[in-house]
């Protein structure tokens, strides 16, 4: 028996032990049992790591007697994809998931050795309940260390679509995001069980939530960039069920990141925040169910399997238990909700929550509607991109608008004078851009609105930085860069948040540019023939063919002319992988400030020497990557540890002092 297989069984036993002993220790208030459970988690982490290392050893040493290695790699697969094959197949990805979960659980335990001792037994128990579920799948349903009766000469290789450098980044990011959502969930459950419903669990998980959100964002973005560069249909988001599965928890998690601030400030929305945390966790499991069950046909069909029923059962149990807990604690959770004005940041955040949840519902509904339709009417229907675009565009634009409005409204109450002062320049910016776009000939309604709102939001962000820095400059005599840096350092979450918003604006620009102004041409040409796409002229020169041990390649050479000047040569490829025999596309992209020229080699007829070429101009698509980078930068600012001591929440301060501690502007 492989050491990895033994390690998984031991990990399962340790997980189950930690689960039972933590609950028992928590109930009986016996710290020795609780500690024992925590030590079991640390040991479990060690054993899952051993199992993962053993599977990696099998992959790297080309041990084709292992079924998993034979199925997802080959002797010619490059090393980095061989490592990535760890999450390329089902059993491996479940093991990878379990390893991430046990690693995070171990970190949580080490972080909380001397704090949150009341919460910890149930935190450990919740995390171990999830871990035992995954470990059970690995022990009983899909063991990763199955040996074959014979040793094949070579493996079947990794799916060619997955042989891309994004493969090394997209799944791990998404898994880190998915699994990361378990941590706030575990603390929420612990708070519900123990009745410690103050904001301790929220403060403890703040950075974990941000961590999970960050990786969910990256996972989605990497997926989009992968689709764009590899699938070769000119777009990056197809509203595929599995894409939707990753988007839904991101939407609810983003809603939570905003509404939790109201709880921290005013001790309100305690039930609502619980709901959001639970919902986010359930959606990560639902996403995995969609991916694994194949209940809805998807481009990610390589991940489908018979695991669906297990996930749906786990989902049902998790949903029932967590919502039952919530109902049980409802009387204690009810807080005196008071807001001073409808024109306040609190109110704006709540509208933001409504829109985020509305979008999550729209995506959920659209994804499941084919199943519902088949169940109710017995008729198969398709809910494709046109549906999702039509439903989500107005909601997305509303969100963009709120992203600008929120920061302009003061907490508690916005005075009329502050409204006038705060809205003036952003509105001027928005209107100016709208007028400029109209004069420039843009007639696309949504695009006009989107550009105008983007300008509005950017202006609010610039104004916030500028005013804050100016106040410091005048009051403390600091130079501009110092003032900006110190202002940001004083409230990292707020200013990091603004930078994240800036990244989101860039992503909106990319979405608007590509959905409203994309130009595309499909031509069949012979060598020496040219065609035009946008302001480019493309001359088809020749086809080049070569072969490697792994695949056969054919590239079309296209000379790119801009204003009659040869500026580039693009070589889109058609590849034919040998194992498994499968064609694949390698697009060629000329990235330019403002737009991409994106060329796909559709097909080649050697008899007539004609090539079918698809060429696209994707305006502003580069902002997708820039937006992603800005988002990373903003999240790092927001998550960076604050040097000063914890600030007393406003609601605590206001409870302590009888009056007058609130700023009104």
């Amino acid at each position: 028996m492989d050491s990895g297989a033994v390690a998984i069984v031991i990990a399962w036993v340790l997980g189950a032990y930690a689960l039972v002993v933590s609950i028992w220790g928590g109930l009986k208030q016996r710290q020795d049992l609780v500690r024992s459970g925590e030590h079991a988690v640390l040991a479990m982490w060690a054993f899952t790591t051993v199992a993962t290392a053993d599977l990696l050893r099998g992959l790297v040493s080309r041990d084709f007697n292992l079924e998993y290695v034979a199925q997802y790699s080959s002797s010619t697969l490059p090393l980095h994809y061989t490592v990535a094959a760890l999450w390329g197949g089902q059993a491996g990805s479940l093991l990878f998931w379990l390893t991430i979960l046990s690693s995070m659980a171990a970190v949580v335990i080490l972080q909380n050795r001397h704090q949150n001792r009341t919460l910890m037994p149930m935190v450990t128990a919740t995390l171990m309940a999830i871990a035992v579920f995954f470990a059970s799948l690995l022990v009983f349903v899909t063991p990763p260390f199955q040996r074959l009766a014979f040793t094949p000469g070579d493996g079947r290789d990794l799916n060619p679509l997955l042989q891309n450098y994004w493969m090394t980044m997209h799944p791990p990011s998404l898994y880190l995001g998915y699994v990361g959502c378990s941590i706030p969930f575990a603390f929420a459950v612990a708070a519900l069980v123990t009745g410690r419903l103050d904001d301790v669990w929220i403060r403890t998980t703040r950075r974990w939530t941000l961590f999970a959100w960050f990786f969910l964002s990256l996972g989605n973005l990497f997926g989009a960039l992968w689709a764009y560069r590899v699938l070769g249909w000119g777009g990056y988001w197809a509203w595929d069920p599995v894409e939707n599965a990753a988007l839904m928890p991101w939407l609810t998690c983003t809603a939570y990141l905003h509404s939790v601030m109201i709880q921290e400030k005013k001790n309100m929305l305690r039930i609502w925040n619980m709901v959001l945390v639970i919902l986010t966790f359930l959606l990560t499991i639902f996403g995995t169910f969609l991916t694994r069950s194949g209940v809805i046909s998807s481009v990610h069909s390589f991940t489908q399997s018979g695991l669906g029923p297990f996930f749906i059962a786990f989902l049902a149990v998790a949903a029932t238990l967590s919502f039952a807990l919530l109902m049980w604690r409802l009387p204690v959770l009810k807080s005196t909700n008071e807001i001073d004005s409808m024109l306040s940041r609190e109110a704006a955040f709540l509208v933001n929550n409504l829109v985020f949840l509305g979008m999550a519902f729209a995506v959920f509904w659209g994804t499941l509607f084919p199943v519902i339709s088949e169940a109710v009417r017995g008729v198969k229907i398709t809910v494709g991109p046109p549906f999702f675009n039509r439903v989500n565009t107005p909601l997305g634009l509303l969100l963009l608008f709120l992203m600008g409005v929120g920061p302009l409204l003061a907490w508690r109450r916005a005075s009329l004078a502050s409204l006038r002062r705060n809205f003036f320049w952003p509105t001027v910016a928005g209107v100016t851009v709208a007028v400029a776009c109209t004069v420039g000939g843009i007639r696309h309604g949504y695009a006009l609105l989107s550009f105008s709102l983007c300008a509005f939001v950017v202006a609010t962000i610039v104004q916030e930085f500028w005013r804050g820095a100016r106040a410091r400059q005048l009051l403390l005599g600091e130079r501009w860069p110092v003032a900006v840096a110190r202002l940001t350092a004083k409230n990292r979450r707020r200013y990091g948040g603004y930078v994240v918003h800036l990244g989101v604006v860039m992503i909106f620009l990319a979405i608007t540019g590509t959905s409203a102004f994309r130009v595309e041409e499909q031509v069949t040409v012979k060598p020496g023939e040219a065609f035009e796409v946008g302001h480019y002229r493309l001359l088809f020169e020749k086809v080049d063919a070569w072969e490697t041990a792994h695949s056969a390649h054919m590239a079309a050479h296209l000379a790119v002319f801009e204003h009659n000047q040869r500026v580039d040569t693009l070589k889109p490829e058609k590849r034919f992988y040998k194992k498994p025999e499968q064609p694949a596309t390698e697009v060629a992209i000329r990235s330019h400030l403002g737009s991409d020229l994106y060329v796909v080699f559709g097909s080649y007829d050697s008899a007539s020497q004609t090539a079918t070429i698809l060429a696209y101009i994707n305006p502003l698509v580069g902002f997708l990557e820039w937006g992603g980078l800005t988002l990373v930068f903003g999240t790092l600012i927001a998550a960076w540890p604050q040097r000063s001591a914890r600030k007393v929440p406003e609601w605590e301060a206001s409870a302590a002092a009888s009056s007058g501690s609130h700023s009104l502007s």
Binding site: I381, R413, G445, G468, L475, S663
Partner: protein, 172 residues
């Protein structure tokens, strides 16, 4: 003053509402250059789903020699040549291949639910939110907007205090 809403704020609220509603309803989707029959080839391609399993629309499927997208494109061209309207062409495809060929649900019967439900949920959520916020606002103890002491008589002090307040606002 406490408890009453100044006229200016009411106006701003109205402006806010108009902006929100405008953002939601104001703008129709893009109009593309259309043929004399009122429909473009791309529009039809995007209205139909490729049946090869790629999950994309006929327009987006780029599989080499796709056994579904290529014949469907040919068929779209044939139907367009007959001078049919978009509705007639889509009905033809629906009758021939079943409803699953359409890339989004129809707006008839049970399928209407697909379109209406998301907006219905947001609308009901919105009504509930406004109702809740009103309740919470009433429960609140609004602080009069202009309750700060007036120090306009001593400009430097007032200016310093304003800056200090502003800084607090930005650092809070």
């Amino acid at each position: 003053m406490a408890g009453t809403v100044p006229h200016g704020i009411r106006e701003t609220r109205r402006l806010f509402l108009v902006l929100v509603v405008g953002a939601l309803l104001g703008l129709a989707p893009a109009s593309r250059a259309q043929t004399q029959h009122g429909v473009t080839f791309q529009e039809l391609e995007e209205s139909l789903t490729c049946q090869c399993g790629c999950g994309l629309t006929v327009h987006s499927c780029n599989h080499v020699d796709c056994s579904s997208a290529l014949p469907l494109r040919k068929e779209i061209r044939e139907q367009m040549a007959l001078g049919k309207t978009k509705k007639e062409i889509l009905s033809y495809f629906e009758a021939k291949y079943g409803e699953k060929i359409l890339s989004s649900p129809t707006t008839r019967g049970f399928n209407l639910l697909a379109w209406v439900a998301p907006f219905f949920v947001v609308a009901v959520g919105g009504v509930f939110l406004v109702w809740t916020l009103r309740r919470w606002t009433r429960a609140g103890n609004p602080i009069p907007v202009n309750s700060r002491p007036d120090r306009s008589g001593c400009p430097n002090l007032a200016e310093d205090e304003r800056l200090q307040r502003e800084l607090e606002r930005f650092e809070d």
